[in-house]
Amino acid sequence: MNGIGGVIAAVLVAGAQIAAVAVGGPLLVGVMRKVRCHIEGRVGPPIHQPLRDLRKLFSKQCMRPDQASWVFGVGPVVLVATAVLIAAISPLATTHPPLGQTADFFAIVFVLLLGSVALALAALDTGTPFGGMGSSRAMTIGALAEPALLVAILAMSIPAHTSNLPALVRIGLAHPQLIASPERFLALGSFLVVILAESGRLPVDNPSTHLELTMIHEAMVLEYAGPDLGLVILGESMRLALLLGLLVNLLAPWGIADRAGAAALVIGLGALVGKVVVAGIVIATFEVFTAKLRLFRLPELLAGAFVLAVVGAFTALVVR
């Protein structure tokens, strides 16, 4: 009985987390856009506009380039599928997500990388110069962001003696002094820069530009239309929400559900939404006052993040 009950509970928790991320992602993007518009003195579209855009896109005809292969259609699906999988197993609303023992931080990073690679390959399949350009720039940024990311994970894993994400969040909840430590701050600072790079926000990439010289992510998805484009937009917003959710749970895990039970889960979801919205507002505000960096200044930014992470790792070693 416990077995089947446990499985049903796990499926419910997973479904709740996935739904939260799938619906909350576009809403988060809407909130960030609204904040930017308000600061710039405009009214801006309503917060649920991205959801309406998605509904419109899914009802349109699907169009693909004539010389593209099956990779073009599969790319967005893999992007969303990886985001769905991570949403199901990450400690977003609860510290005991389903299959939580599989949610190794390293594994999650590489599942996200799978999504990026799928999109990059699909971009090259279009046969236009823009696809290649976006793909090339995105893979360069990804390659340069990886060292910062993995060393930041190392820095966070050293005090906890594990790289399992739910365990990291549980330990943070149990020992707040681990969160207020310099190595955690340094690692999370580096992680934040990597999130900005991976989800294509300023100062790495302008999500609303369509100029050849400045496009990175937008160039990759230029040829998508209809449901394919809907999936791409959904996937991107889900990734942003996921990464920010992981960031806030590592930085300030209070409110996350620590035990089983529907009430705790609801409180956890609410806390997650609240924290992620706050993080989104902060990032949107920061974006208003920042200009996009030149492509060849990005290695400096990412190298800075790498150095932060290395200093965090050494601090973690020395403090032990």
Binding site: L121, L124, G142, V151, H161
Partner: protein, 673 residues
């Protein structure tokens, strides 16, 4: 019974070589392949028995080789390498059946390939110095013959073969010195005797032997700065030979280092393993960078081999380091991760080289800048290359990811430690792991995307046809191994643990507990690759289902429409306007300009009438190997200059030569006086 398997391997290999030499052209390749399969299967049976029971297989004969006799000892560590070689060989020889019509059906090639395979199968089973060196030399010479197969058609083949011959023999002489020194001190040339005597060796002898072995075996494994032969020889060899060289031969370099460092010398001081780790870090970064910026498909794969072997060396070095600082359990995990990385590399690199060979046969060239759109014209080869590329980029749910996860875990759990060496080595190792992972992902997105996707960029790519069935099957076999090893790595892990117990002194018998998931014993670290794969598949199906659902609910219900891509509204879109491999790699090349130092040649020619008007601008850029240009060519230049100077000694005068003799005689007599 199991002792017989090695004998059967040797006999079958020899018969394959004789069949390849003696039979007429129609049947020689088939007969050679059949006998080689027999050799591989016999070796597989023998080594699987060894791995299952954990007992080594010993064979002694003093009649086959004069003076020294033949001693074969197959223990679990060697058995792992034999299994890997056998599987890669079966796939490569299957591929050879279809490839033979492209120049690999001559008598020399048909004899050399089976000898190559057999010597690689028997090297890990060698139990004495003489046996090891004989088999090693046989392997080197047969692979040299294979590299030279195409030498009449291409000029570069001869130069590549020259580099390969010199470097492999420099390596072989270093190995010779190391092993002979050890056996001279032990008074006996069998490995068992050397092992027993190793504790009595003075430190200077141990250090020299280890360093020489590192140089010799490291050069075979492709460690920077001894790697310069790899990107020359691997592309020039025919594809089955390249797959064997990259998938099986470089592993034997790793086997040699573990053999000398752990099994013969029984471990050593920390600085040994720090050196190995440092070499690994440099190789991994250098190889990954050159792979990311290379436009020749096979050269890309060769540099990527150097990169992967660098990662394996990081694992081996970390294992030795942890063993020295007193953490045998984590040392065992690090060694298991190194072995797993080796096995994974054989699977995906073998399949990548075989599919690259298919591409070369179909399009007529190896240049990525001229390919494109091959996935539609060669669907199976394209799919196999895709699987191989995703596996090497360490993406779940394939096998590269499991290996890198295990390496990362062993590095992570090696801290906390009180040793500063470890405290510095581990973050450096992790950073190197990360950067090479990112660069490899970029390199293979480039290879797959520019090579197989988009539109054909040249005539050769536009008229490509799918290759014969055996060639597809050979590559697909290894790609299938990638998938299986990625989803259920547990089938190889017990064998690797037994091999580690044989290699690392003091290792616990079970450092991993694996059923459906991989669990590190006594530590917090779990990975469930099967569950990840199942989760991904489930999510994939769910998303497709939801999309279908959403489309069905739309009122338009229109079918999929194919149209010309928008491309920013341009009317004329040719295939030449796409990004090429060079352009794809350009941002990375600019970021790492100081390390790569590309040659740039810009020629601006002006009109005759006025210098203000340019007529033509020609730009040429090429990325050579920095180590080759700055280390090897000056060395070769110095040797050449010394040789030219020495020519003055030989001016043809008989009197001069007699005078040399007289002077030496007088000097010797004076010394006696």
């Amino acid at each position: 019974m199991s002792n017989l398997s090695l004998v059967i391997t040797a006999i079958a290999g020899l018969s394959a070589a004789i069949a390849g030499c003696a039979l007429p052209a129609k049947t020689r390749v088939h007969a050679a392949v059949a006998f080689t399969w027999g050799a591989c299967i016999a070796a597989l049976v023998g080594s699987l028995t060894v791995l299952h029971t954990g007992h080594a297989m010993v064979l002694n004969s003093s009649r086959i080789l004069p003076l020294t006799g033949v001693t074969m000892v197959l223990d679990p560590l060697g058995a792992v390498f034999v299994v890997v070689t056998a599987v890669v060989a079966i796939a490569s020889t299957l591929y050879w059946l279809g490839y033979a019509s492209h120049g690999l059906s001559t008598r020399t090639a048909s004899a050399a390939l089976p000898i190559f395979v057999t010597s690689m199968l028997l090297v890990p089973a060698a139990g004495s110095v003489a046996t090891f060196l004989w088999l090693w030399e046989l392997m080197a010479l047969s692979s040299l013959l294979l590299v030279l197969v195409d030498q009449r058609r291409r000029e570069e083949t001869r130069s590549a073969a020259q580099w390969y011959a010199v470097m492999t023999h420099v390596g072989a002489s270093a190995i010779l010195f190391a092993l002979v020194m050890l056996s001279a001190h032990a008074g006996n040339q069998t490995f068992a005797a050397i092992r027993i005597h190793a504790v009595h060796l003075p430190a200077a002898v141990r250090n020299t032997a280890f360093l020489l072995a590192l140089v010799g075996f490291g050069s075979k494994a492709g460690a920077v700065p001894l790697h310069v032969w790899l990107p020359k020889a691997h592309p020039e060899a025919p594809s089955p030979a390249s797959a064997l060289m990259s998938g099986a031969m470089v592993n034997l370099g790793i086997y040699g280092i573990v053999l000398v460092g752990d099994r013969l010398l029984g471990g050593g001081p920390a600085w040994w393993w720090l050196t190995v780790t440092a070499v690994g870090v440099v190789s991994a970064l250098f190889g990954a960078l050159h792979a990311a910026t290379s436009t020749d498909l096979k050269r890309l794969l060769a540099y990527s081999t150097a990169d992967n072997m660098g990662l394996v060396l990081i694992g081996v070095g970390a294992s030795g380091l942890f063993a020295t600082t007193g953490h045998p359990a984590i040392a065992a995990i690090a060694m298991v991760s190194a072995l797993l990385l080796t096995v994974n590399h054989a699977a995906f690199k073998g399949s990548l080289f075989l599919s690259a060979g298919s591409v070369q046969v179909a399009t007529g060239s190896r240049d990525l800048d001229g390919m494109g759109g091959l996935l539609r014209r060669m669907p199976i080869t394209g799919a196999v290359f895709l699987v191989g590329g995703l596996a090497i980029a360490a993406l779940p749910p394939l096998n590269g990811f499991v290996g890198e996860w295990l390496l990362f875990q062993s590095l992570l759990h090696g801290l906390p430690t009180s040793s500063t060496a470890v405290a510095i080595a581990v973050p450096v190792g992790v950073a190197a792991l990360a950067l090479t992972g990112g660069l490899t992902a970029a390199a293979f997105v480039k290879a797959i995307g520019v090579g197989f996707l988009g539109r054909p960029r040249s005539e050769g790519a536009a008229t490509a046809h799918e290759v014969p069935r055996t060639m597809q099957l050979g590559a697909a076999l290894l790609a299938g191994a990638c998938v299986v090893l990625g989803v259920v790595p547990m089938i190889v892990l017990p064998a690797l643990e037994r091999a580690t117990a044989a290699a690392v002194p003091g290792a616990p018998a079970h450092s991993l507990r694996s059923s459906v998931e991989l669990r590190l014993a006594g530590l917090q670290g779990v990975l469930a690759p099967a569950l990840l794969a199942a989760g991904l598949a489930l999510a994939f199906i769910a998303v497709i289902a939801i999309r279908r659902l959403a489309q069905r609910r739309s009122h338009l219900r229109l079918a999929l429409r194919r149209a010309e891509p928008w491309g920013c509204g341009r009317e004329l879109q040719t295939a030449r306007m796409q990004y090429t491999a060079t352009s794809f790699a350009e941002p990375l090349q600019q970021v790492f300009d100081d390390v790569l130092r590309p040659d740039r040649d810009l020629n601006v020619s002006h009109l005759a009438e006025s210098r203000y008007y340019t007529e033509k601008i020609a730009y040429r850029t090429s990325i050579g190997d920095v180590v080759e240009h700055n280390v090897y060519r000056p060395m070769i230049g110095a040797v050449n200059a010394w040789g030219q100077w020495a020519r003055g000694l030989q001016n043809g005068s008989v009197h001069r030569y007699l005078a040399y003799g007289l002077v030496v005689l007088v000097v010797i007599l004076a010394v006696i006086v």
